[in-house]
């Protein structure tokens, strides 16, 4: 199965979602999304890091320095309360749109 580009807008939602289970560094976020989507979704670095900077700017996540599994200093991203609220909001709006599209696809 060919690897798929990430639909725009969805990336922030996915990043927030994978951070919900605990703090991760950038590479791990990309890997996690890749793995959880059964290797369908490929997160480009060119999209990931600007999106992460935006999340930091909005205050949805904070970053701390930690040690990676390869024993290297790296930045870990942790969801904030504001980020959790944002995730809730984006999830519910995504679900609504998704259901609506499904309804159209089924019945049309």
């Amino acid at each position: 199965m060919p690897k798929q580009e990430m639909p725009s807008g969805a990336l922030t939602l996915l990043i927030l979602r994978v951070l919900q289970t605990g703090s991760l560094h950038g590479y791990a976020i990309a890997q996690r999304i890749h793995a959880l989507s059964s290797e369908v979704l490929q997160v480009e670095e060119g999209a990931l890091y600007p999106a992460l900077q935006k999340i930091l700017l909005k205050g949805w996540a904070t970053s701390d320095w930690g040690i990676s599994e390869t024993n290297r200093k790296v930045r870990f991203y942790r969801l904030t309360d504001a980020g959790r609220e944002q995730l809730e909001a984006e999830l519910s709006s995504y679900t609504r749109v998704h259901d609506a599209i499904q309804a159209v696809l089924r019945t049309a």
Binding site: G26, E45, G46, L56, L57, T70, R72, R75
Partner: protein, 851 residues
Amino acid sequence: MSEFLRRLTYLFHRRRHDRELADELDFHREMAARSGGVPVGNALHLREASRDAWGWTWLERLGQDVRYALRMLRRSPGFTLAAVLMLAIGIGANVAVFSFFDLLVLRPLNVRDPATLLRFHRRGIEAYAFAVPYPEADFLRRHARTLSAFVSVNTTPVTVEGEDKPLNVNFVTANYFRELGGAPAYGRVFDPAFEQDPAAEAVVVLSHAYWQRRFAGDSSVVGRTLHLNGKPATILGIAAARFGGLGSGISDTAIWAPLVSHPYFVRNSKLLTDVSNESPGVQLWGRLAPGQNPKAAEAELRALAAELRKQYPAAIWEDERLVSEPGGFATSLISGGRRGTGAEQRDPVYPIFALAGTLTLLILAAACANLGSLLLARGVARQREISIRAAVGAGTARLVRQLFTESLLLALMGAAGGLALGTAVLRWLLAATESPAWLDPSPDWRVAGFALAAGVGSAVLFGLAPSLKTGRPGRRPGSARQVLIAAQVAASCILLIVAGLLGRALNHASKEDPGFEYRQVISLRPGLAQGSYTPARAAAYLDSLLPQLRALPGVESAALSSSPPLGNVTISAVWEMDGRRIDVGMNGIDENYFETMRIPLLRGRNLRRGDTQAVVISESLARQGWPASDALGKTLPLDKGYTVVGISGSINAVKFGDRDSVQAYFPIQEADRPNLFALIRTSAPPGTVAGSVATAARALDPNLSVEVQLLGRNFRRRLEGAEYTTLAVGVLGGIAQLLACLGLVGVVAYGVSQRTREIGIRMALGARPAQVLAIVLRQFAVPVCVGLAAGIGGAAALSQVLRGRLFGVSHLDATAYLLAIGLFLVTTAVAAVLPARRALRIDPLSALRHD
């Protein structure tokens, strides 16, 4: 922490953030390589994209642009200097006008809490007066609730010991200094307790400037005695240097005295008790009580005036209102003590400023248009640099922004220069006209903001179009040039025409016969009213003075008048005649007036001694008032039924050359005698007789403040203002035209160089020199003609404001227009043909080889 704060924090730590981001991306790349994934793309580009998220990229780009622009400007200092100088002149002229407007209208006076001060004047149904009789002012003070305090000022000329000429002393209420926040520099100032104590000794306060001038800053004069009108007064203190206070006109006050001591200093003064309209009265300011507004104050004072009218039905007018204007600004000082009937005649401050502002804006527009052409030409020269920058990846928007940043920098330097230049010019003008020290032209935030706005505005005007043209390589700058030429032509054309009009008017005024002879006339004001003469005493004084004057050597004749032409006093009224409103200059005269002033009596008879209901009117009034019939024997539309007994020649006393100015001459009213002037015609040069005239007037009463003026000198002084204006507009017009010509030279030269090949071909095919010139110049004919037409139209519209100030020259005067247009055409033609001649020297052969 809000988003904005996070953004700011990022800005201050952006180097660290940058390092961290680079680190993080390195890690990502390592991990990806380890797991055999695709290599990361351009790391630098990725970092830039991530930085973009924080929204500070514009600042970095701006920094780059500014650095680059500074480098470019430094590399061509000649161009930079020329551009900044041009802008500084254009912006400076505007700054000077705006600063002056700011000083008069916008900037509060240096008094305590100027925003709550109101200046009041009286307005009835048919009359208005800027002075209020003191008893009325006092009544208002005692009863008004919407105003917390009143300040009254009466200005009276007083003979001060040790001074040749009478000084204007401001008689003020005792709360004056406290209410206006005027602290003493030395000694004390008046305090409200003073007014309650009539037995207290007479005191005066000196202004800082007068104290410096008269006593050289000697602080021991406090407590010393100074004689005013011969009466001793103790110097109570010296006011602070910056304190200008409120007073009469835009002038320096020398001495303040308490209003209650007016009767002490001024003999027979009835200022404190006279409620009639003949009283000199006071200028009245009020301070709004907290929470009140001017409307409420006006309503209350209207009711109070109606209340007072019950007591003084003759003095207080029917339905009298006390109209307020903001009192904390210099404009509230200008109106002085004017009074009259009919509609108020306000100083046309705003139209004059509008005209001056428009003219100076034209200069700026011309400078901008010229600079725009220069930048376009530079843009062509920089085409190579631009193409290289475009080739290495700069987008159009980026290039345009870069070029506009250069313009903006130029404009800001120009604005700074303009601010300095404009302030310097205004400072010099104020010093030259001996303006008071408190009128300080140092720029405030309004003027600085104005200069900045003018700079940014000009940057848009001169820089945006060239930046757009140049920033998009491959587009030929054609139409922008044409528009710029037209704009410059229009601007300089308007300025030249206005200068021409003013020059014509000046020439006209200094040559035209004003209808009377003024060169050999002295005007004498004995100052009887200020000396508080009763009408009867004044009559006796004048009866003995006039024969003495006539007996002086070199004197031909002498006459009396209540408002001599070219003087400071004008009495005018608006008469309704068959539905037309005629503004009539009124004058009370004796039987010698016409002969002394050399005004011809055209028909009927002169006024005689003993006439009471007779009037002589000017020919212009006869024509306007009774267009269809003979005015002789008619009755004037006034209560007292004056009969026209004679018709005199018309004079242009108020406005030179104004053929519509009309006069009516009445017999002298008894009550008016203390206010009369004596007019003396001399056979000897008037300057040699003036001294003995003054001596004769003082000999009869040494206490009088006698004032002698030469009408010839007044006439010249009246023209001086016009001379300055004409000179200023002429200089501006010259600068604008010079700029326009320089611009045209450059543009035409450029046009020739662009079309060398085409011209060469045409010459090879046998085109004659005239045809070659025509080819080169044709493309400039249209914008020049369009600009010329726009300029003529603009001048015709603008100069309407000048009507009535052109000394009778029409604002559409053909000679002025033709002269200005002629000058314009000649200079423009020279500027266009000189560089165009280069086209004739083109060698067809080498032109064809030209790439």
